[in-house]
Symmetry: C2
Amino acid sequence: MGKTDEMKWSTLYSSRVASMGHSDVAEMLKLSERPEVISFAGGLPDPAVFLLDEIKDIFQEVLRERGRAALGYGPTQGIGPFREWLAERMTGASRPTRVTECLVTTGGIAAVDLICKVLLDPGDVVIVGEPSYLAALHVIRSYQGRFAGVPLDGEGMEPDALASVIGELKNRSLRPKFIYLVPSFQNPSGVTIPEDRRRKIVEIAAQNHVPVVEDAAYRDLRFEGEAPPLLASLDPLNVIHINTLSKTFNPGIRIGWVTGPEPLIETLALAKQGQDQCSTTIGQYAALAFATKGLIDRQITRSVEIYARKRDAMLAALDKYFPEEARWTRPEGGFYAWITLAGKIDTEALLPVCIEAASVAFGAGPSFYHNRQGKEHMRLCYSYVPEEQIEEGIRRLGALLSGIMIGETP
Amino acid sequence: MGKTDEMKWSTLYSSRVASMGHSDVAEMLKLSERPEVISFAGGLPDPAVFLLDEIKDIFQEVLRERGRAALGYGPTQGIGPFREWLAERMTGASRPTRVTECLVTTGGIAAVDLICKVLLDPGDVVIVGEPSYLAALHVIRSYQGRFAGVPLDGEGMEPDALASVIGELKNRSLRPKFIYLVPSFQNPSGVTIPEDRRRKIVEIAAQNHVPVVEDAAYRDLRFEGEAPPLLASLDPLNVIHINTLSKTFNPGIRIGWVTGPEPLIETLALAKQGQDQCSTTIGQYAALAFATKGLIDRQITRSVEIYARKRDAMLAALDKYFPEEARWTRPEGGFYAWITLAGKIDTEALLPVCIEAASVAFGAGPSFYHNRQGKEHMRLCYSYVPEEQIEEGIRRLGALLSGIMIGETP
């Protein structure tokens, strides 16, 4: 039955299934699950950051105070008081926001899904960084979007390079539908776009009538230095801001949001009617209680402590064990360091070998490229792996890489 | 700014936005919210059915026993033990099911969204009943599907009519991608397809290589009589079964599922990576605890008691107050009765008048028709309105209708 059955279904599939390809996310999560493997692959929060006791109390409180209202359907846009809190939070981040400019979503990727549903026809162009967040690439592929890539450097997307890509598209009569960016502690590179570049990027985008989608998933996890302004604060009319509570509350509850101009938010809400109707009611009330008790801030403090220590452990181990030809980013926050190896190493080919020979996993570069380039790169996530395993994992990985560089077969 | 801004965004929209039209669901829910209105419009559960104290205990238990694992990301397909429970439940309903044939979704509509994402290219044909569940119509429209309608009678979809629609499509070289059905206590008509028709429908579907999507959202809410078999039990290889815990646990938690052949489930999971990555972890653990403690069954018993009384109150009031030209279904379960009025009444035009003049709301027929026909019909939902308001609401509505029939202007 297996084969015939598979063939039968595949004849029914939409053309977007072929565009989706396979899932790098699912494969990375699987690698993270094998107990003997030290995994720098999946981009997961450390469970130690969750405020378990406080969350227990909050669920009791929500069910006691909101009662059965916490269990029914909620409005598609999100429950009123939670949207009010979102509007206040965005206003506090210098993006003055009305409640009607906020839409609650079922996590951050659901927000990207809605934006693509509303903006992309097959063949439409989206501008992305090289590299980019792989789940966002997956969503764009699933809407049969085409990519125009802009290479990133140590300060993220370079404005002149962006302008020239937009110019080339214009010469081919193509108007990109949006620019997708993770401006702070980018996934996968860990780099942050500084303020001057942010100002230039939103200016170029506005001049060319191309909206910017700003994914701020990691922004609150800053270990040191000053936060540059939100893109959404620099151009509220042309920036679609998306965010998630997965890092500042927990991912198990599935809450994210979009902030943007009201006409767009209304259309996204219409699309959400056909995505999941509404996001979790009890979860939104719990998130609201968590936020208003100051626990988001407390969790951020705890997270920054834990992740900064892990980042330090990883950077120290990289200095100690990685071959001198290798280069890496030094993230000021977030989950990821990004490694550039000598050109002859193919990280995609290396990954299965590395898991077998060294029991270490990482994110291979091509997973993060719209065009599957970037074989000389790897993403190392320090957030999830136990702190005491970081040095050993990097030591093994470094030994393997050094061996390859001098011509050993691993 | 308003107008310009709206125009600016609309030039960026995908062609599917035009297909989506406006949202009948959102408007119906809004009508249900006005406190002075007796609303038979929204298809909501009675909050009294929720087992609030038990749910409070379960959240404590889950956070105590599963700890931080309940707060992290879960697998895209759903957490293992919950999928095992789903597989057992489906097997118990005579559809022998492996865990790998189950995918957890963020409610029932998210399942329809995934199915359309995987199966529909723009212009692809879906066979639906006349009338049909309006949110499913919205999803299909958002994927730019085309509709082929099959009129329903008091026993749901008539197999010969289905066969002839498929035949006509075949003559035009069109192969429908699937048939969408709510076989038990259909939304909106309240009718249930009897066993002999079910057998014929799945046979016709299989002969013509057209899968059936069986939406079993209301099936467990049977007040009387014997349940006919699941379509999925009659043809496990060709029926995609979707279901939700919104009626048997609560909608605030957002959990549904799809059961179907494994190759399809894998592709739906790939699509879910780009929809919301995973459904709520804490919610799945809570649902599992609720189910294994026998509380789903207890909630079903309680729901059936409450909804059967409300159904009885509505049918009695309809007999007493509705004009004799009107006809209606007598549902054996679920949330809805379906009214057929004399041809000269246009329920869509009547609705705003009725809310103003009589403070009563209902679902206007055209909302449930892919082609916006059905003006002579209305859906009356008895599940949500307080029992003591049912007679008064139907009395007012009946008086208004009787007046129109003798030529009064309401």
